[in-house]
Subunit: 127 residues, 2 copies
Amino acid sequence: MMSVETVQPVKSTYQDGQLEINAMRGEVLVNGSKLVLTRKEFELLALLAANEGEILKREDLMMRIWSYSMEIRTRTLDVHIRRLRAKIGEHGEGCIETVFGVGYRFQRYRSPEARPMYTFAMMSASA
Amino acid sequence: MMSVETVQPVKSTYQDGQLEINAMRGEVLVNGSKLVLTRKEFELLALLAANEGEILKREDLMMRIWSYSMEIRTRTLDVHIRRLRAKIGEHGEGCIETVFGVGYRFQRYRSPEARPMYTFAMMSASA
DNA sequence: TGTAGCTTTTACAACTTTTTTACAAGTTAA
DNA sequence: TTAACTTGTAAAAAAGTTGTAAAAGCTACA
């Protein structure tokens, strides 16, 4: 693990068919049009996208964006996820996936039929 | 830190459809007519324009124009921004963009519809 | 010294973002 | 199907940031 890598909270860029995240310029484009995100929204999206395909646990998201604190009795994370999804729009539904009992996962663009229908809550949520 | 690089606060010239900055002559023209700016106003505009398209953080602007000092509890920067915008006029609104929680960004002229609604706060401002 | 012009400070208004609250809706497992 | 628990949502509250006017402080110079 050795922390050799610099703490770069955000992969410099993400891109798929619909969505583009340019961390350097702080820009997010959805189908070419620029998105207006707040700071926390941006951080959250960038973190999720940087770990594309992986499930990030609620606790981890909390820790990494809200710095270790914050009881998990608050809906803060959910509210931010909701706003992100709303802003990203249609693609947002598909790309930010809820993993019940665990957390969220960002998925690279897949055509609707390519998306699994099942909720797919894997990983012993306890773990 | 070593000050090897020359302190060249200003790209020699900027120009777009509306605005022209001639750093050598210390002149700013808006739609052909000369603008009378004070020294600080000029420095600020020139610095922003020299980094056209990039977000300059408040701290950085402070450091580079007010030399490292100045608590960020003062409205000095904002006041200068306001006066700049006022003097540049209509174009000023569009070209000096506020990036909430971070700083300001100078944008080359874009037709009104090309402008994002901006509020947009990116990049963990802390970083 | 007085004046004019520039810059900074102050005090508050206006605005934006983030968090909290309260409850609805969805999910899981016995 | 119900009980227990998790997530979604809207709306309000709280926190934080920026905008602005006006006053005060400077500086240069006639």
